[in-house]
C-alpha cells in the first residue's frame, strides 16, 4: 500500500510535466498576445516590452527558461498585474479559495450523506419526496441566482450577515452556502441512490436477520458500501471547489483565485495561465490519489500490488 502510494506520487511528476509542456505550447499557438490592445502599440514600444519579458527569444528557449525558473519556485512575472510574480498573486488568493472550497466540500459531504441516507431509509415517503425535491432544486438552480437571493435575504433585509468581503468568519457564511448548495444536492442524490442499493443487498438482509440494531445495520454495514460511489465523486469535486469560482468571488467580492482562470486566458497572460493550470492539475492528481487510497481503506477487495 505504502509502496503503491509512493509509486503513484512518482507518476504525478511526469504527468504534471507533460501537462505543463502541452499547455505552454498550446497557449502560444492561440492567436493574440498579452500586449495586444484595441489601439495597437507602436512597433518599437511593443518590441521593447517583449524584450523585457524575454518574449523575443526563440520559443524553445523561452520554454527552457520557464521550466528552469519553475524548478526554483518562480512562476515568472504576470503580464497583466505589473510588478508581481505569478506565484505571489496565486499565493495570496489560494488559501482563501481552499478555505472556502474545503468548507463547502465538508458541508456537502456531511449534509449530503445525512440527507441522502434519510431519504433512502424513507423511500417514497413524504420525507423522501421533500429531500429529493430539495436536491433537484439545488442541482438546477445556478449559484449566480442563489448567491444574490441569499444576500438579499440575510444581508440586505435582515442584516444578519455581511454581504461582501473577506476576513471574519461571518463573511464566509453566505459564499460557503452558495458554493455548497449544488454540491449538497449532488451528494444527496448520489448517496440516496447508493444507500437504496446497499439496503437491498443480501448482506444487509443478513444483518437484519441476525437481529442487529438498526443503527448498526445502517450506520455500519449499509453506510460503508454506500459511501464508495460518493467517494469517487468527491475527488474531482474537491479539485473543482478548491480552485475557486469566479461567480462567487465577483458577487461576494472575495480575493480568491477563481477569477484568474477566466481573466488570464482572455488577457493571454501566459504565465498566469500556466500558474492556474499547474494548480488545477496538481489538485486533481493529488485528490484522485487520495480517493484511490481511501478506497483501499473502505473496501478491502480493492488491492494495489
Amino acid at each position: 500500500m505504502l509502496n503503491y502510494a509512493f509509486k503513484r506520487i512518482l507518476t504525478i511528476i511526469p504527468t504534471l510535466f507533460a501537462i505543463i509542456t502541452l499547455t505552454f505550447f498550446l497557449m502560444r499557438i492561440a492567436p493574440g498576445g498579452p500586449f495586444d490592445e484595441e489601439r495597437p502599440l507602436a512597433p518599437a514600444v511593443l518590441e521593447n516590452i517583449q524584450a523585457s519579458y524575454g518574449l523575443n527569444k526563440p520559443l524553445i528557449e523561452q520554454y527552457f527558461i520557464y521550466i528552469s525558473n519553475l524548478l526554483q519556485g518562480d512562476m515568472g512575472p504576470s503580464f497583466v498585474y505589473r510588478d508581481k510574480r505569478v506565484h505571489e498573486v496565486l499565493a495570496e488568493g489560494l488559501p482563501i479559495s481552499i478555505t472556502l472550497g474545503g468548507t463547502a466540500l465538508l458541508l456537502a459531504l456531511i449534509i449530503g450523506v445525512f440527507l441522502g441516507s434519510i431519504a433512502a431509509l424513507n423511500q417514497n415517503k413524504k420525507t423522501d419526496v421533500f429531500i429529493v425535491t430539495f436536491a433537484t432544486f439545488g442541482i438546477t438552480t445556478p449559484n449566480y441566482v442563489i448567491a444574490p437571493i441569499l444576500t438579499l435575504i440575510f444581508a440586505l433585509t435582515f442584516s444578519i450577515l455581511p454581504a461582501t468581503g473577506w476576513g471574519s468568519p461571518s463573511q464566509m457564511v453566505l459564499p460557503v452556502i452558495s458554493l455548497a448548495l449544488p454540491q449538497i444536492a449532488i451528494v444527496t442524490r448520489l448517496m440516496r441512490g447508493s444507500m437504496l442499493e446497499a439496503l437491498k443487498s443480501d448482506h444487509i438482509r443478513t444483518a437484519r436477520a441476525y437481529g442487529l440494531p438498526m443503527t448498526h445495520v445502517v450506520g455500519k454495514h449499509a453506510m460503508r458500501s454506500a459511501l464508495l460511489p460518493v467517494l469517487s465523486y468527491l475527488g474531482p469535486a474537491a479539485a473543482a471547489l478548491m480552485t475557486g469560482s469566479i461567480v462567487i468571488e465577483q458577487i461576494f467580492n472575495l480575493p480568491g483565485i477563481g477569477r484568474y482562470f477566466v481573466t488570464s486566458a482572455l488577457n493571454r497572460d501566459y504565465t498566469m495561465v500556466m500558474g492556474t493550470v499547474i494548480i488545477v492539475a496538481t489538485l486533481v492528481l493529488v485528490f484522485n490519489l487520495i480517493v484511490d487510497l481511501l478506497y483501499t481503506v473502505l473496501d478491502p477487495r480493492v488491492r494495489y500490488d
Binding site: L212, P213, H221, P300
Partner: protein, 538 residues
C-alpha cells in the same frame, strides 16, 4: 415426535407483495408446525413461496411485502412483535443461513468481526470474549487455521468456507431453530455433502430444529424427517419423508419425484468420424512475469487432449474452478490456448479469428445463465435470426424469419412469441431460446456449459429431452459441461473428470460410474448418489 411441544407454529400465513403490476400472492394461507429437535424440509420449485416463509419468520421480507396470519414462537406471535422484541429473537433463538454465502456476508468486514457481531449484540460479550467464542465457533464448523482465517475477508475464502462462516454466524447464540434456505445450492457436491453432514451433527448434538428449504429432493430424502411440498404458495402435501417418497398422494409430488433425470446414452462406435480433436491443450490466464516479479499466472487447463466423435456426447465433470468451462471455451477458440485443435481435418488452433468465422456456425455454444446470455433489448426473433444474418447473408428476410420460426417451434416454443423480449419468459423458456439460437445455424458441434443448472428439475428434464431429440435428429456432437453427475450420467456416453485443470480420469460413462478408479471420482459419485449413507454415519 408429534407428542413434543411445537417449537414453531405457523398458522394460515399469507404473504402478499404489492408490485406495479398489482398484488402478487406469494404465500396463500400456509400452516406448518416444527417440533423441537426435528429436521423439516420445505420443497418446491422456484417461485413456490418457500423462501418467503423463512423471510416472514425473521421479519425480513422485501419492503413491498406484507405478511399476515400467525407465527407462534414461545407463545408470542412473531408477526406482531415490535422491532426491538423481534431483534431479541432473530439471530439469537431463530437463526438463518442463506443460499449465497458470498453476497450474504458483508464484503467489507473481516469474517471474524462478522461472527462477533451477533454475539456482542445478543449476549453483550466484551470484545475479547466475543473473539474467543467466535474462534471456538469457527473451529466447530471445521474452518482450518481459525486464528488466521479470523482476519480474512469473505472474498478470500472458498464457497464452502464462506458457507461454514455463515453457519458459525447462525450458531453463535445457540439458536433453538435454524432455517437453512438452499444452503448448499451454490456449492459443489462434495462440499454440499460436508455441509449437510455438519448440519446433521449439529442437529444431533444440540437438539436444534432445522427448517431446510430446498428444491433438491435428493437432499430431502437423505436429510429430512418430515417434508412439506409447496406449489404456487400453497402446501400441497406433507408428512414423513418416507411416506412422501414412497406413497406420494398428489399428482404434483409425483411429478417432482419423477423429474429426476432418466435414461442413458449408448456409446458411439470407435470407427465413427472424429469431428473435433484437441491435443496437449493449455490455457494460462495472466501475463508472464517480468524480471524479478512474482509469477501470478493461473494455469486453468493443463495438457488436455480430447476426441469427439460424430453423434457423441462427452460429459465434462468437475467442481467449480476445475477448468471445465475454460476448456469448453478454448475448444471453440473463445479463449486463447496453446496446443492443437482440429475440426473436421482443419487445424483451427493457429488460424486467425477472421478465417475461423465461416466455421463458427458449425461450432456453437449454449451458456449456463439463459438470462445473462440473451440480450435484454432484442426480441426473440432478432436473437435467433442474428446468427443467420452473419453466416447466411444470401437468405432473404422472409427466408431467414421462416427458418428462425421453424427452429423456435422445434425447441418447443410457439412462434407467436417472436416479438417478445427475454425477460417475459421463464428460465426454462429462456434456455430454449438460447438453444434455438445455436441450433438455427445447424451446427455440428455444440458446447453446452451447464445448460440446465439454473433450472428446476421438472424443467431440466424437458430441456434434456429436447437436447436429446435434437442430437439424434441432426447427429450432433455435444461437449456437455456440468457439475451435476445425475445429468451427466444420463446424457453423456463418455465422461471426462477434471480436477485442477487436468483430466484425471476418463472413460465410457457406465464404466466411470460403476467402477471409478480415482478417489476424487469416487468421492464425487458418493456425494451425488449416496448422500443418505453418508449422512447415516452421523
Amino acid at each position: 415426535m408429534s407428542m413434543q411441544k411445537a417449537a414453531l407454529d405457523i398458522q394460515n400465513l399469507v404473504v402478499d407483495f404489492s408490485t406495479p403490476d398489482g398484488e402478487v400472492h406469494a404465500v396463500k394461507g400456509v400452516s406448518m408446525t416444527i417440533t423441537s429437535g426435528e429436521i423439516v424440509a420445505i420443497v418446491g420449485e422456484s417461485g413456490s413461496g418457500k423462501s418467503q416463509i423463512a423471510m416472514s419468520i425473521l421479519g425480513i421480507l422485501a419492503s413491498n411485502g406484507q405478511a399476515s396470519g400467525q407465527i407462534l414462537f414461545e407463545d408470542q406471535d412473531i408477526l406482531c412483535l415490535p422491532r426491538k422484541e423481534l431483534n431479541a429473537i432473530r439471530g439469537s433463538k431463530i437463526s438463518i443461513i442463506f443460499q449465497e454465502p458470498m453476497t450474504s456476508l458483508d464484503p467489507l468486514y473481516r469474517v471474524g468481526e462478522q461472527i462477533m457481531e451477533p454475539l456482542r449484540t445478543h449476549q453483550g460479550l466484551s470484545k475479547g470474549e466475543a473473539k474467543k467464542r467466535a474462534l471456538e465457533l469457527m473451529r466447530q464448523v471445521q474452518i482450518p487455521d481459525p486464528e488466521r482465517r479470523f482476519k480474512s475477508f469473505p472474498n478470500e475464502m472458498s464457497g464452502g468456507q464462506r458457507q461454514r462462516i455463515m453457519i458459525a454466524l447462525a450458531l453463535a447464540n445457540d439458536p433453538d431453530i435454524l432455517i437453512a434456505d438452499e444452503p448448499t445450492t451454490a456449492l459443489d457436491v462434495t462440499t454440499q455433502a460436508e455441509i449437510l453432514k455438519l448440519l446433521a451433527e449439529l442437529n444431533k448434538q444440540r437438539g436444534m430444529s432445522i427448517i431446510f428449504i430446498t428444491h433438491d429432493l435428493g437432499i430431502v430424502e437423505a436429510f429430512a424427517e418430515r417434508v412439506y411440498v409447496m406449489q404456487s404458495g400453497e402446501v400441497k402435501e406433507f408428512g414423513s419423508t418416507e411416506a412422501i417418497f414412497k406413497t406420494p398422494k398428489t399428482e404434483y409430488t409425483r411429478t417432482l419425484l419423477d423429474a429426476e433425470p432418466e435414461g442413458a446414452k449408448p456409446p458411439v462406435e470407435k470407427a465413427r468420424e472424429i469431428v473435433l480433436e484437441a491435443e496437449a491443450m493449455d490455457v494460462v490466464y495472466g501475463q508472464a512475469p517480468r524480471f524479478l516479479q512474482k509469477d501470478t499466472r493461473f494455469h486453468a487447463v493443463k495438457d488436455t487432449s480430447l476426441r469427439l466423435h460424430k453423434g457423441q456426447t462427452i460429459g465434462l465433470v468437475g467442481e467449480s474452478g476445475s477448468g471445465k468451462s475454460t476448456l469448453g471455451r478454448a475448444l471453440l477458440r473463445l479463449t486463447e490456448s496453446t496446443g492443437k485443435i482440429v475440426y473436421l481435418g482443419n487445424n483451427i488452433d493457429s488460424v486467425s479469428l477472421k478465417s475461423l468465422k465461416p466455421l463458427r456456425e458449425e461450432l456453437q455454444m449454449v451458456f449456463q445463465d439463459p438470462y445473462g446470455s440473451l440480450s435484454p433489448r432484442m426480441t426473440v426473433l432478432n436473437i435467433v435470426e442474428e446468427g443467420l444474418q452473419t453466416h447466411k447473408p444470401e437468405l432473404t428476410r422472409v427466408e431467414r424469419q421462416d427458418l428462425s420460426l421453424t427452429t423456435l417451434e422445434k425447441v418447443g416454443l410457439d412462434p407467436s412469441v417472436r416479438n417478445r423480449f427475454p425477460h417475459e419468459f421463464s428460465g426454462g423458456q429462456r434456455q430454449r431460446i438460447a438453444i434455438a439460437r445455436a441450433m438455427v445455424l445447424q451446427p455440428k458441434v455444440v458446447v453446452l456449459d451447464e445448460p440446465t443448472s439454473a433450472l428446476d428439475r421438472t424443467v431440466q428434464k424437458e430441456v434434456l429431452e429436447l437436447l436429446r431429440s435434437l442430437q439424434s435428429e441432426f447427429s450432433l456432437s455435444y461437449i456437455f459441461i456440468s457439475h451435476d453427475l445425475a445429468v451427466i450420467k444420463v446424457m453423456a456416453d463418455y465422461v471426462m473428470v477434471m480436477k485442477n485443470g487436468k483430466i484425471i480420469e476418463e472413460g465410457v460413462t457406465q464404466e466411470i460410474f460403476e467402477s471409478p478408479k480415482q478417489d476424487y471420482t469416487k468421492s464425487l459419485i458418493t456425494s451425488s448418489f449416496n448422500l443418505k449413507e453418508l449422512l447415516s454415519e452421523v
